[in-house]
Protein backbone atom coordinates (compact mmCIF):
# COMPACT_ATOMS: atom_id res chain seq x y z
CA UNK A 1 0.00 0.00 0.00
CA UNK A 2 2.62 2.60 1.05
CA UNK A 3 5.68 2.71 -1.26
CA UNK A 4 8.81 1.80 0.67
CA UNK A 5 10.97 4.39 -1.11
CA UNK A 6 8.82 7.29 0.22
CA UNK A 7 8.99 9.10 3.55
CA UNK A 8 5.82 10.07 5.43
CA UNK A 9 4.69 12.84 7.77
CA UNK A 10 2.25 12.75 10.66
CA UNK A 11 0.06 15.10 8.61
CA UNK A 12 -0.30 12.35 6.01
CA UNK A 13 1.96 13.73 3.32
CA UNK A 14 4.49 11.62 1.47
CA UNK A 15 7.87 12.75 0.15
CA UNK A 16 9.99 11.13 -2.54
CA UNK A 17 13.57 12.39 -2.38
CA UNK A 18 15.64 12.86 -5.55
CA UNK A 19 19.05 14.37 -4.70
CA UNK A 20 18.33 17.85 -3.29
CA UNK A 21 14.74 17.90 -4.50
CA UNK A 22 11.63 16.06 -3.44
CA UNK A 23 8.19 15.32 -4.80
CA UNK A 24 5.36 15.76 -2.33
CA UNK A 25 1.85 14.38 -2.17
CA UNK A 26 -0.83 13.19 0.24
CA UNK A 27 -1.23 9.58 1.27
CA UNK A 28 -3.82 6.98 0.46
CA UNK A 29 -5.08 7.31 4.03
CA UNK A 30 -5.52 11.07 3.63
CA UNK A 31 -7.42 10.82 0.35
CA UNK A 32 -9.75 8.18 1.80
CA UNK A 33 -10.45 10.38 4.83
CA UNK A 34 -11.21 13.37 2.63
CA UNK A 35 -13.46 11.65 0.13
CA UNK A 36 -14.01 12.90 -3.39
CA UNK A 37 -11.65 15.81 -4.04
CA UNK A 38 -13.14 18.65 -6.10
CA UNK A 39 -10.58 21.47 -5.76
CA UNK A 40 -6.83 21.55 -5.35
CA UNK A 41 -5.03 24.82 -4.66
CA UNK A 42 -1.26 24.82 -5.02
CA UNK A 43 1.39 27.51 -4.58
CA UNK A 44 3.26 29.27 -7.39
CA UNK A 45 6.59 28.08 -8.68
CA UNK A 46 9.33 30.01 -6.88
CA UNK A 47 7.47 30.36 -3.58
CA UNK A 48 9.57 29.53 -0.55
CA UNK A 49 8.22 27.77 2.53
CA UNK A 50 9.41 26.96 6.03
CA UNK A 51 8.84 23.57 7.59
CA UNK A 52 5.16 23.07 8.49
CA UNK A 53 3.98 26.08 6.47
CA UNK A 54 0.68 25.75 4.67
CA UNK A 55 1.40 24.94 1.02
CA UNK A 56 -2.11 24.77 -0.28
CA UNK A 57 -5.55 23.35 0.29
CA UNK A 58 -7.49 20.33 -0.88
CA UNK A 59 -11.27 20.47 -0.83
CA UNK A 60 -13.59 17.54 -1.03
CA UNK A 61 -17.36 17.60 -1.05
CA UNK A 62 -17.46 17.30 2.70
CA UNK A 63 -14.28 18.88 3.99
CA UNK A 64 -11.32 21.13 3.39
CA UNK A 65 -7.80 20.13 4.33
CA UNK A 66 -4.69 22.26 4.47
CA UNK A 67 -1.49 20.75 3.16
CA UNK A 68 1.54 21.52 5.33
CA UNK A 69 5.00 21.03 3.99
CA UNK A 70 7.14 18.68 6.07
CA UNK A 71 10.29 20.13 4.51
CA UNK A 72 11.46 23.71 4.01
CA UNK A 73 12.37 24.81 0.51
CA UNK A 74 11.41 26.38 -2.81
CA UNK A 75 8.67 25.15 -5.12
CA UNK A 76 10.16 24.22 -8.49
CA UNK A 77 7.27 22.42 -10.15
CA UNK A 78 3.54 21.98 -9.51
CA UNK A 79 1.28 19.26 -10.85
CA UNK A 80 -1.14 21.14 -13.11
CA UNK A 81 -2.84 17.87 -13.99
CA UNK A 82 -4.13 17.42 -10.45
CA UNK A 83 -5.43 21.01 -10.39
CA UNK A 84 -7.27 20.37 -13.67
CA UNK A 85 -8.43 16.92 -12.68
CA UNK A 86 -8.70 16.70 -8.86
CA UNK A 87 -10.00 13.13 -8.85
CA UNK A 88 -6.44 12.05 -9.70
CA UNK A 89 -5.82 12.57 -6.00
CA UNK A 90 -8.40 9.93 -5.14
CA UNK A 91 -7.45 7.55 -7.90
CA UNK A 92 -3.67 7.58 -7.56
CA UNK A 93 -2.51 9.63 -4.55
CA UNK A 94 0.98 8.10 -4.51
CA UNK A 95 1.55 8.50 -8.28
CA UNK A 96 -0.33 10.68 -10.79
CA UNK A 97 -1.88 12.61 -7.90
CA UNK A 98 1.44 14.11 -6.71
CA UNK A 99 1.16 17.78 -5.76
CA UNK A 100 4.48 19.53 -6.25
CA UNK A 101 8.25 19.35 -6.40
CA UNK A 102 10.49 21.30 -4.04
CA UNK A 103 14.20 22.00 -3.72
CA UNK A 104 14.62 21.53 -0.01
CA UNK A 105 16.87 23.82 1.99
CA UNK A 106 17.93 21.33 4.66
CA UNK A 107 18.07 17.56 4.62
CA UNK A 108 17.61 17.68 8.40
CA UNK A 109 13.84 17.92 7.94
CA UNK A 110 13.84 14.46 6.43
CA UNK A 111 15.05 12.91 9.69
CA UNK A 112 11.71 13.68 11.34
CA UNK A 113 9.75 11.69 8.76
CA UNK A 114 8.62 8.08 9.01
CA UNK A 115 9.41 5.22 6.69
CA UNK A 116 6.57 3.21 5.14
CA UNK A 117 6.49 0.64 7.89
CA UNK A 118 6.39 3.27 10.63
CA UNK A 119 3.71 5.22 8.81
CA UNK A 120 1.53 2.17 8.38
CA UNK A 121 1.85 1.53 12.13
CA UNK A 122 1.05 5.18 12.80
CA UNK A 123 -2.15 4.99 10.73
CA UNK A 124 -3.18 1.69 12.32
CA UNK A 125 -2.55 2.96 15.84
CA UNK A 126 -5.25 5.57 15.28
CA UNK A 127 -3.05 8.36 16.66
CA UNK A 128 -3.65 10.19 13.43
Amino acid sequence: MYPSEYLYSREHEWVRVEDDTCVLGITEFAQAELGEVVFVELPEIGQVFDTNDELGTIESVKAVAEVFTPVAGEVIEVNDAVVEDPELLNEDPHGEGWLLKMRFSSAADLKDLMNAEQYEEFVKSGES
Binding site: G35, E36, V38, F39, E41, T57, E59, S60, V61, K62, V64
Partner: protein, 346 residues
Protein backbone atom coordinates in the same frame (compact mmCIF):
# COMPACT_ATOMS: atom_id res chain seq x y z
CA UNK B 1 -19.45 6.66 10.75
CA UNK B 2 -19.88 9.87 12.71
CA UNK B 3 -21.64 10.78 15.90
CA UNK B 4 -24.74 12.81 15.08
CA UNK B 5 -26.83 13.92 18.05
CA UNK B 6 -25.81 10.73 19.82
CA UNK B 7 -26.51 8.45 16.85
CA UNK B 8 -23.84 6.58 14.90
CA UNK B 9 -24.60 7.69 11.38
CA UNK B 10 -23.08 6.67 8.06
CA UNK B 11 -21.70 9.74 6.25
CA UNK B 12 -21.10 7.78 3.10
CA UNK B 13 -21.07 4.29 1.64
CA UNK B 14 -19.67 4.38 -1.92
CA UNK B 15 -18.92 8.12 -1.83
CA UNK B 16 -21.00 11.28 -1.64
CA UNK B 17 -20.95 12.06 -5.37
CA UNK B 18 -21.82 8.54 -6.48
CA UNK B 19 -24.65 8.24 -3.95
CA UNK B 20 -25.94 11.68 -4.87
CA UNK B 21 -26.07 10.79 -8.56
CA UNK B 22 -27.77 7.46 -7.79
CA UNK B 23 -30.58 9.37 -6.05
CA UNK B 24 -30.94 11.82 -8.95
CA UNK B 25 -30.94 9.14 -11.68
CA UNK B 26 -32.14 5.92 -9.99
CA UNK B 27 -32.67 5.66 -6.23
CA UNK B 28 -30.94 5.79 -2.86
CA UNK B 29 -31.87 4.30 0.51
CA UNK B 30 -31.16 6.33 3.67
CA UNK B 31 -31.35 5.24 7.28
CA UNK B 32 -32.71 8.32 9.02
CA UNK B 33 -33.97 6.59 12.15
CA UNK B 34 -32.40 9.36 14.22
CA UNK B 35 -35.38 11.63 13.46
CA UNK B 36 -37.64 12.16 16.49
CA UNK B 37 -41.31 11.18 16.57
CA UNK B 38 -43.85 12.65 18.98
CA UNK B 39 -47.46 11.50 19.07
CA UNK B 40 -50.08 14.03 20.10
CA UNK B 41 -53.64 12.86 20.55
CA UNK B 42 -56.87 13.39 22.42
CA UNK B 43 -59.77 15.80 22.35
CA UNK B 44 -58.63 19.32 21.54
CA UNK B 45 -55.41 18.29 19.82
CA UNK B 46 -56.18 20.08 16.56
CA UNK B 47 -56.84 23.33 18.43
CA UNK B 48 -53.67 22.83 20.48
CA UNK B 49 -51.43 22.29 17.45
CA UNK B 50 -53.15 25.17 15.68
CA UNK B 51 -51.97 27.48 18.48
CA UNK B 52 -48.53 25.89 18.71
CA UNK B 53 -47.51 25.84 15.03
CA UNK B 54 -47.69 28.40 12.19
CA UNK B 55 -49.17 26.26 9.40
CA UNK B 56 -52.94 25.66 9.24
CA UNK B 57 -53.69 22.35 10.93
CA UNK B 58 -57.42 22.75 10.26
CA UNK B 59 -56.67 22.36 6.54
CA UNK B 60 -54.71 19.15 7.09
CA UNK B 61 -56.79 16.09 6.18
CA UNK B 62 -56.28 12.69 7.82
CA UNK B 63 -53.79 10.82 5.61
CA UNK B 64 -51.86 13.99 4.81
CA UNK B 65 -48.77 15.60 6.27
CA UNK B 66 -47.53 19.14 6.16
CA UNK B 67 -44.33 21.06 6.83
CA UNK B 68 -44.39 23.43 9.78
CA UNK B 69 -42.34 24.49 12.77
CA UNK B 70 -42.15 25.29 16.43
CA UNK B 71 -41.61 29.00 16.95
CA UNK B 72 -40.64 31.10 19.94
CA UNK B 73 -42.56 34.21 21.01
CA UNK B 74 -40.06 36.10 18.84
CA UNK B 75 -41.15 34.10 15.80
CA UNK B 76 -37.80 32.32 15.57
CA UNK B 77 -37.32 28.61 15.11
CA UNK B 78 -37.16 26.09 17.94
CA UNK B 79 -37.30 23.46 15.18
CA UNK B 80 -38.86 22.68 11.83
CA UNK B 81 -41.02 19.59 11.57
CA UNK B 82 -43.58 17.51 9.72
CA UNK B 83 -47.06 16.95 11.11
CA UNK B 84 -48.88 13.79 10.01
CA UNK B 85 -52.61 13.69 10.67
CA UNK B 86 -53.38 10.08 11.58
CA UNK B 87 -56.99 10.70 12.69
CA UNK B 88 -59.15 13.74 13.42
CA UNK B 89 -57.54 14.18 16.85
CA UNK B 90 -54.34 12.17 16.48
CA UNK B 91 -51.07 13.42 14.97
CA UNK B 92 -47.48 12.27 14.57
CA UNK B 93 -44.97 15.11 14.77
CA UNK B 94 -41.57 14.37 13.23
CA UNK B 95 -38.67 16.52 14.41
CA UNK B 96 -34.89 16.80 14.09
CA UNK B 97 -32.83 14.40 16.19
CA UNK B 98 -30.68 17.12 17.72
CA UNK B 99 -33.76 18.97 18.99
CA UNK B 100 -36.01 16.02 19.85
CA UNK B 101 -35.77 16.11 23.67
CA UNK B 102 -36.31 19.87 23.75
CA UNK B 103 -39.14 19.69 21.21
CA UNK B 104 -40.89 17.09 23.33
CA UNK B 105 -40.61 19.33 26.41
CA UNK B 106 -41.73 22.33 24.36
CA UNK B 107 -44.85 20.56 23.13
CA UNK B 108 -45.69 18.65 26.33
CA UNK B 109 -45.35 21.70 28.59
CA UNK B 110 -47.78 23.69 26.42
CA UNK B 111 -50.36 20.96 25.88
CA UNK B 112 -53.95 22.09 26.31
CA UNK B 113 -57.32 20.41 26.37
CA UNK B 114 -57.02 16.64 26.73
CA UNK B 115 -54.04 16.49 24.39
CA UNK B 116 -51.66 13.72 25.36
CA UNK B 117 -48.04 14.10 24.22
CA UNK B 118 -45.98 10.91 23.87
CA UNK B 119 -42.28 10.67 22.94
CA UNK B 120 -42.11 7.78 20.46
CA UNK B 121 -38.62 8.41 19.08
CA UNK B 122 -37.36 5.05 20.34
CA UNK B 123 -40.32 3.25 18.81
CA UNK B 124 -39.75 4.28 15.21
CA UNK B 125 -37.05 3.54 12.70
CA UNK B 126 -37.18 5.55 9.48
CA UNK B 127 -35.97 4.55 6.03
CA UNK B 128 -36.05 7.04 3.17
CA UNK B 129 -36.24 5.60 -0.33
CA UNK B 130 -35.61 8.48 -2.71
CA UNK B 131 -35.24 8.88 -6.45
CA UNK B 132 -37.10 8.41 -9.74
CA UNK B 133 -37.00 4.60 -9.27
CA UNK B 134 -38.41 4.71 -5.72
CA UNK B 135 -41.96 3.86 -6.84
CA UNK B 136 -41.07 0.81 -9.01
CA UNK B 137 -38.77 -0.48 -6.26
CA UNK B 138 -41.32 -0.11 -3.47
CA UNK B 139 -44.43 -1.20 -5.38
CA UNK B 140 -43.92 -5.00 -5.26
CA UNK B 141 -43.04 -4.87 -1.54
CA UNK B 142 -45.67 -2.45 -0.25
CA UNK B 143 -49.39 -2.27 0.32
CA UNK B 144 -51.39 -1.33 -2.77
CA UNK B 145 -52.16 2.34 -3.02
CA UNK B 146 -48.69 3.85 -2.76
CA UNK B 147 -48.70 4.88 -6.43
CA UNK B 148 -51.86 6.91 -5.79
CA UNK B 149 -50.29 8.81 -2.90
CA UNK B 150 -49.74 12.45 -3.72
CA UNK B 151 -46.76 14.43 -2.46
CA UNK B 152 -47.18 14.69 1.33
CA UNK B 153 -49.83 11.97 1.36
CA UNK B 154 -49.34 8.83 3.45
CA UNK B 155 -50.94 5.52 4.30
CA UNK B 156 -50.62 2.99 7.09
CA UNK B 157 -49.98 -0.42 5.58
CA UNK B 158 -47.11 -2.84 5.17
CA UNK B 159 -43.66 -3.03 3.61
CA UNK B 160 -42.16 -6.51 3.17
CA UNK B 161 -44.87 -7.94 5.42
CA UNK B 162 -44.16 -5.53 8.26
CA UNK B 163 -46.52 -2.78 9.49
CA UNK B 164 -45.34 0.62 8.28
CA UNK B 165 -46.43 4.18 7.76
CA UNK B 166 -45.50 5.02 4.16
CA UNK B 167 -45.39 8.66 3.20
CA UNK B 168 -44.60 10.32 -0.10
CA UNK B 169 -42.14 12.77 1.34
CA UNK B 170 -38.42 13.34 1.36
CA UNK B 171 -35.51 15.66 1.73
CA UNK B 172 -33.78 15.29 -1.62
CA UNK B 173 -35.88 17.11 -4.22
CA UNK B 174 -36.79 13.77 -5.81
CA UNK B 175 -39.90 11.65 -5.78
CA UNK B 176 -39.72 9.10 -3.02
CA UNK B 177 -41.05 7.61 0.16
CA UNK B 178 -40.30 7.71 3.84
CA UNK B 179 -41.09 4.48 5.64
CA UNK B 180 -41.72 4.56 9.40
CA UNK B 181 -41.54 1.16 11.05
CA UNK B 182 -40.64 -0.63 14.28
CA UNK B 183 -36.86 -0.68 14.86
CA UNK B 184 -36.76 -4.48 15.22
CA UNK B 185 -37.90 -4.84 11.60
CA UNK B 186 -35.76 -2.11 10.11
CA UNK B 187 -32.68 -4.16 9.21
CA UNK B 188 -34.74 -6.85 7.45
CA UNK B 189 -36.79 -4.29 5.50
CA UNK B 190 -33.57 -2.47 4.53
CA UNK B 191 -32.23 -5.76 3.12
CA UNK B 192 -35.45 -6.50 1.22
CA UNK B 193 -35.48 -3.01 -0.30
CA UNK B 194 -31.82 -3.26 -1.31
CA UNK B 195 -32.52 -6.63 -2.99
CA UNK B 196 -35.60 -5.33 -4.78
CA UNK B 197 -33.74 -2.21 -5.84
CA UNK B 198 -30.63 -3.91 -7.20
CA UNK B 199 -31.97 -4.15 -10.75
CA UNK B 200 -33.03 -0.48 -10.61
CA UNK B 201 -29.65 0.83 -9.50
CA UNK B 202 -30.58 1.43 -5.86
CA UNK B 203 -27.64 2.40 -3.65
CA UNK B 204 -27.36 2.93 0.09
CA UNK B 205 -26.84 6.64 0.77
CA UNK B 206 -25.45 8.48 3.78
CA UNK B 207 -25.65 11.82 5.54
CA UNK B 208 -23.16 13.37 3.10
CA UNK B 209 -25.38 12.83 0.06
CA UNK B 210 -28.46 13.77 2.07
CA UNK B 211 -26.88 17.15 2.66
CA UNK B 212 -25.79 17.80 -0.95
CA UNK B 213 -29.22 16.67 -2.22
CA UNK B 214 -31.23 18.84 0.16
CA UNK B 215 -28.99 21.81 -0.57
CA UNK B 216 -29.52 21.52 -4.34
CA UNK B 217 -33.25 21.43 -3.58
CA UNK B 218 -32.71 24.49 -1.30
CA UNK B 219 -34.38 22.81 1.65
CA UNK B 220 -33.61 24.36 5.03
CA UNK B 221 -31.61 22.49 7.66
CA UNK B 222 -31.93 23.33 11.34
CA UNK B 223 -28.68 24.80 12.66
CA UNK B 224 -27.91 26.18 9.21
CA UNK B 225 -30.69 28.14 7.50
CA UNK B 226 -33.00 28.16 10.50
CA UNK B 227 -32.37 28.44 14.21
CA UNK B 228 -33.48 30.44 17.22
CA UNK B 229 -32.22 33.66 15.64
CA UNK B 230 -34.11 33.31 12.36
CA UNK B 231 -37.77 33.51 11.45
CA UNK B 232 -39.65 31.74 8.66
CA UNK B 233 -40.04 35.10 6.88
CA UNK B 234 -36.28 35.67 6.83
CA UNK B 235 -35.74 32.08 5.67
CA UNK B 236 -38.14 32.52 2.73
CA UNK B 237 -40.56 30.03 4.28
CA UNK B 238 -43.51 32.43 4.26
CA UNK B 239 -45.72 29.69 2.81
CA UNK B 240 -45.47 27.78 6.09
CA UNK B 241 -46.81 30.73 8.04
CA UNK B 242 -50.59 31.15 7.82
CA UNK B 243 -50.95 34.50 9.57
CA UNK B 244 -54.63 34.66 8.69
CA UNK B 245 -55.59 31.09 9.57
CA UNK B 246 -57.88 32.40 12.30
CA UNK B 247 -56.80 32.74 15.89
CA UNK B 248 -53.46 33.32 17.47
CA UNK B 249 -50.42 31.06 17.32
CA UNK B 250 -47.07 31.15 19.06
CA UNK B 251 -44.83 33.70 17.34
CA UNK B 252 -47.62 35.30 15.28
CA UNK B 253 -47.38 38.78 16.81
CA UNK B 254 -43.65 38.90 16.22
CA UNK B 255 -44.06 37.76 12.62
CA UNK B 256 -46.80 40.34 11.97
CA UNK B 257 -44.52 43.03 13.35
CA UNK B 258 -41.59 41.81 11.27
CA UNK B 259 -43.73 41.79 8.14
CA UNK B 260 -44.82 45.37 8.85
CA UNK B 261 -41.31 46.63 9.64
CA UNK B 262 -39.52 44.78 6.87
CA UNK B 263 -36.77 42.19 7.07
CA UNK B 264 -33.24 42.91 8.24
CA UNK B 265 -31.83 39.86 6.46
CA UNK B 266 -32.96 37.46 3.78
CA UNK B 267 -31.92 33.97 2.86
CA UNK B 268 -30.61 33.69 -0.71
CA UNK B 269 -29.16 30.99 -2.90
CA UNK B 270 -25.82 31.64 -4.53
CA UNK B 271 -23.50 30.12 -7.07
CA UNK B 272 -19.75 30.47 -6.59
CA UNK B 273 -18.05 31.87 -9.66
CA UNK B 274 -14.42 31.31 -8.76
CA UNK B 275 -12.55 28.22 -7.70
CA UNK B 276 -13.41 27.10 -4.20
CA UNK B 277 -16.31 26.26 -1.94
CA UNK B 278 -18.06 28.69 0.38
CA UNK B 279 -19.11 26.84 3.50
CA UNK B 280 -21.18 27.46 6.63
CA UNK B 281 -19.84 30.36 8.67
CA UNK B 282 -17.98 32.13 5.86
CA UNK B 283 -18.75 35.84 5.75
CA UNK B 284 -20.51 37.67 2.94
CA UNK B 285 -18.43 40.82 2.44
CA UNK B 286 -19.22 44.32 1.27
CA UNK B 287 -16.22 46.66 0.94
CA UNK B 288 -14.32 44.24 3.15
CA UNK B 289 -16.90 44.27 5.96
CA UNK B 290 -18.98 41.27 6.91
CA UNK B 291 -22.63 41.96 6.04
CA UNK B 292 -23.94 38.41 5.90
CA UNK B 293 -23.10 34.79 6.52
CA UNK B 294 -23.12 31.54 4.58
CA UNK B 295 -25.49 29.02 6.16
CA UNK B 296 -24.68 26.03 3.93
CA UNK B 297 -22.34 25.50 1.05
CA UNK B 298 -21.06 22.56 -0.89
CA UNK B 299 -19.87 21.25 -4.17
CA UNK B 300 -22.92 20.34 -6.23
CA UNK B 301 -22.57 16.94 -7.90
CA UNK B 302 -25.45 17.74 -10.30
CA UNK B 303 -24.17 21.11 -11.51
CA UNK B 304 -20.46 20.48 -10.88
CA UNK B 305 -19.98 23.82 -9.21
CA UNK B 306 -20.06 25.20 -5.71
CA UNK B 307 -23.49 26.33 -4.45
CA UNK B 308 -24.77 27.61 -1.17
CA UNK B 309 -27.25 29.62 0.84
CA UNK B 310 -26.54 32.74 2.86
CA UNK B 311 -28.23 35.46 4.88
CA UNK B 312 -27.65 38.87 3.32
CA UNK B 313 -29.13 42.36 3.71
CA UNK B 314 -32.27 42.75 1.55
CA UNK B 315 -30.36 45.15 -0.72
CA UNK B 316 -28.13 42.24 -1.79
CA UNK B 317 -30.89 39.65 -2.13
CA UNK B 318 -32.08 40.15 -5.71
CA UNK B 319 -31.20 37.38 -8.18
CA UNK B 320 -28.20 38.43 -10.25
CA UNK B 321 -26.58 40.44 -7.45
CA UNK B 322 -22.84 39.88 -7.16
CA UNK B 323 -21.62 38.75 -3.76
CA UNK B 324 -18.14 38.47 -2.30
CA UNK B 325 -17.52 35.68 0.17
CA UNK B 326 -14.50 35.57 2.44
CA UNK B 327 -12.98 32.10 2.36
CA UNK B 328 -9.83 31.61 4.46
CA UNK B 329 -8.58 35.12 3.76
CA UNK B 330 -9.45 35.02 0.07
CA UNK B 331 -12.35 36.74 -1.66
CA UNK B 332 -14.51 34.36 -3.62
CA UNK B 333 -16.98 35.87 -6.12
CA UNK B 334 -20.52 34.52 -6.19
CA UNK B 335 -23.87 35.51 -7.66
CA UNK B 336 -27.36 35.35 -6.15
CA UNK B 337 -29.62 32.87 -7.92
CA UNK B 338 -33.27 31.97 -7.43
CA UNK B 339 -33.65 28.78 -5.42
CA UNK B 340 -34.12 25.88 -5.73
CA UNK B 341 -30.96 25.13 -7.69
CA UNK B 342 -32.46 21.80 -8.68
CA UNK B 343 -36.02 21.00 -9.67
CA UNK B 344 -36.77 17.47 -10.69
CA UNK B 345 -38.00 16.84 -14.22
CA UNK B 346 -41.67 15.80 -14.29
Amino acid sequence: MVDFAGWDMPVQYAGVIEEHRAVRTAAGLFDVSHMGEIRVRGAGTEAFLQRLTPNDVSKLAAGRAHYSGLLTERGTYVDDLLIYRLAPEEFLVVVNASNAPRDFEWIASRASGDAEVIDESERWALLALQGPKALPILTPLASPGIAALRYYGFLQGEVAGVPALISRTGYTGEDGFEIYLAPEHAAAVWERLMEAGAEHGLQPAGLGARDTLRLEAAMALYGHEIDEETTPLEAGLDWVVKLDKGGDFLGRDALLAQRAEGLGKKLVGFEVQGRGIARQGHAVLSDGDGVGVVTSGTWSPTFEKALGMAYVPPALAAPGTSLTIGVRGRELPAVVVTPPFYRRPR
